[in-house]
Amino acid sequence: MSTTATRPAEPAGAVPSRSRRAAAGSTIRRSLPAVGILVALAAIWEAVSHWFGVPDYVLPSLDRIWSTGVADWPGTLASATWVTTQEVLLGFLLSVTVAILLAFALHSSRVVRNAVYPLLIGSQAVPVVVIAPVLAIIFGYTITPKLIVVALICFFPIVVNTIDGLGSVDPDLLKVMRTLYGGRWATLRRVEAPAALPSMFSGLRIAATYAPIGAVFGEYAGSQNGLGYVMVQAIPQLETDLVFAAIFILTVEAILLFIAVSVLERIVCPWAREGKR
């Protein structure tokens, strides 16, 4: 009875809710393949760990990882996650700031570009795993060496993509700007910088996925807390389930950061979505 009673009210106000429902439906449909693969992988994982007699210290089962994660959350994982999250976010911000300043400097002066670009490329060959302990020696077990490691790992894709974006402006448009009283500063501010935003965001999205790795490298080199620290402690004791729990938290963090950057991109440059899909 109740279904027939509510039905007459539907047509009038149904349009927005129905379109919203359709949008939600399409989101679900789009994420279906990703969910499917995840479920399949989880099933294989469970099957291997349960039925093939793989010892827990080699490959703990997912349910065991989950229960360890839940059990250790209040004692160790929560505070470790908080520490690592701070390092990831602050390091990411630091790298974004440095990278964008560098990109502008490199864009505006050929001399600077020629002088600094080889250094930037060279910096990517520096083995961060080796440099991290040195930084820990210099700065102690503070947050500083972690931020530097995160920034070192993240800044390169941002710099390169931002420079490409700044240089992507149509040469005719630059000429038009000159005829419209546009000096260098006006052109940079009103044309080149906005034009660089979409490709800068591409760099940011790549960097977002690197940031958690950077934090863990930093913590491996010397720390008193954090997910990397938890792993360093857990591995010698063969607490593989705790290691995996920490890895999953890091994974989620990377995905969330990636999504946050994508959302920010949609807000900051809505025009750039035109022509994409």
Partner: protein, 285 residues
Amino acid sequence: MVSTSGSPVGKGVPLPTHEHADGAPAPGWSRGGAAGTGLVLDGVARRFGQTVAVSGVHLEVPLHGRLTIVGPSGCGKSTLLGMICGLDEPDEGRITVLDADTAEGRLRRCAWMPQRDLLLPWRDVLGNAALALENQGIRRHAAREQVAHLVERFGLAGFEERLPHQLSGGMRQRVSFLRTLVAGKEVLLLDEPFGALDSITRADLQQWLRSALDAEPRTTVLVTHDVEEALLIGERVAVMSARPGRIVAQFDVDLPQTGSRRELIRHPEFTELRDEILSLLEAVT
């Protein structure tokens, strides 16, 4: 350097009339009205490596005169406009725009509009139109207000806050033209402004440009490969040959000032001129 005798340009300041070097006002073309020299090209040549793009070009446009240059693709028309504009310097010869013959001086007096609209995709119609004012240091809000009253005349009323990708090709080109005009320059250089449009929109905008220039006369040079467009817009049509680009002939267009595009195109004098120019173009390419 900035020429010292510079006239006040920009910001819509009324322009003084410029007189010939010998003091005698040059005869304006068919429309009459303002007297003086808009721009002079004297033996202009430009080479790119071994290629001679433009050679021995002599042209003169009276103040508020409209010259159209017609020629085959790649004949150096755009190169010529770039040099007049001050974005490029000729290898030989001299270009004088109003009283300026340095590249920087010319750049201050010329507005240039290329074939593609090149609007900023992140700025709405008002924002794009106000670009030149903001570049001159006028605050964003004030600049938008200044251009707001022009929008209607350009057939863009109601679209002030649309982004370029929400506009049709013809509207985008009108925004681009508005942006060019708002710079308040005395000389307009239009490089195939309607080249990227479909033929219906194109005809529409040709008519519209004619009336816009009648309402607000500027010294105009329009470059095109469309003979009809050249005759519709220009008071004088210069025909250019392909590589090296030379001016092979100039025609004065003396058509009734009023009348729609369709009437003009059927006018016997129009068709005669068009055929003459077309056969000349065939001969030089």
